[in-house]
Symmetry: D2
Subunit: 129 residues, 4 copies
Amino acid sequence: MSIFSFALTPRISETDLVGHVNNVSIAAWFEDLRVRYMASLEATDAQGGMVHFTLASLQIDFIGETHYGSDVTMSMESVAVGNSSITLEGVMHQNDKLAARGTAVMVHWHPESHRPQRIPDFYREKVGH
Amino acid sequence: MSIFSFALTPRISETDLVGHVNNVSIAAWFEDLRVRYMASLEATDAQGGMVHFTLASLQIDFIGETHYGSDVTMSMESVAVGNSSITLEGVMHQNDKLAARGTAVMVHWHPESHRPQRIPDFYREKVGH
Amino acid sequence: MSIFSFALTPRISETDLVGHVNNVSIAAWFEDLRVRYMASLEATDAQGGMVHFTLASLQIDFIGETHYGSDVTMSMESVAVGNSSITLEGVMHQNDKLAARGTAVMVHWHPESHRPQRIPDFYREKVGH
Amino acid sequence: MSIFSFALTPRISETDLVGHVNNVSIAAWFEDLRVRYMASLEATDAQGGMVHFTLASLQIDFIGETHYGSDVTMSMESVAVGNSSITLEGVMHQNDKLAARGTAVMVHWHPESHRPQRIPDFYREKVGH
């Protein structure tokens, strides 16, 4: 079940000489999904930076080839809020077929100590945890 | 007057440390405009490569800063078909303000001789020249 | 211990509005490490495509911020050859500090059946397994 | 005659499905040339942003195809300092053949009024004008 999604159109500059969309472009799309979702939680500042959240790790599983010429759908499937980290799981479909799955862990930092700190209830309520 | 247009959402990965959208990202958007417009003329092959057309030159004038956080509109404003080249002029707006203007010259090549050759009437009719 | 490494200079277009190098750029650098390493094994065809290898998954752990203004070093640390897959572990350092760790799993496919197949001894000998 | 140059290695992620290096990647390389050259003049601040200079226009002429698999050389050929603008002309070679020519105009702004202002003698002396 998708809790947030949007479509995007692959660009020629996002393909590579193998003839498919390059994996780096797919990493950019998953960041776009992550950032737009976080923005929908009002977890970003005015400039778009994620307030006190930093990307700690990123995993992408490439399930099928992604092609130029058809739109893709980026969907956030699940969000898990831990003590000081949040885990976001998204998927990318093209022509109704699952093409990639991306999981990101973001850590919440104290703005002065720069150490991990508990994620505020504000986000927990938004996410429904 | 726009003859072809679409909107897109700037991504964090398209900004740079100056705080705006990086000029290279804008070059990618103008390519997207150019390729989608050419595709609308059915001037591209199945994989999206432009059949017998090659980018000869690209000019972008940066008129205003482009920011993360608001969609932009890419619009093709004029298309001029010469003997063996086609000149495409597009504009990019953000928040109803002109932010950049891009002009591209594409050359039509003979697939065997690799020399410039007259653009077929097929394209002239499509473009209305 | 590094088995393959090179330096690169971060570009302005690889940073984002947060002020650091964007994580998508780091994904591009790890691909560059992976592809150059595989090329050093003569595992790529003339055009640079990896012969019969496809990226199955990618994990990047971001350990420290990466900044514009200092070169980074990309190093391949370990390579593990399984039956039909190869796991590549690389690291990225900036100013002698570990900044990111990237792990990629590539699968070897049969060119006709498109099913995973045993990695040839050719690669096993090259890698030292 | 080159007044500043460096080599770089094209990446798979910088190619596109046509099989060559994508023009957007070449725009990134010319920005890299421009920024590194300006940095060599000590015209950049600590973070790498160009102090009071903004890119006004960019022109790239694509003279030959650029391929994955061979290093390219980016060279600054000429720099012309006007009253409030500076024009930078660079070239890109691959395998000793001229592949692209890039011209950029940067405008010097007053940090408070945000209006164009005369380029300081500091830069004129550096550039040799």
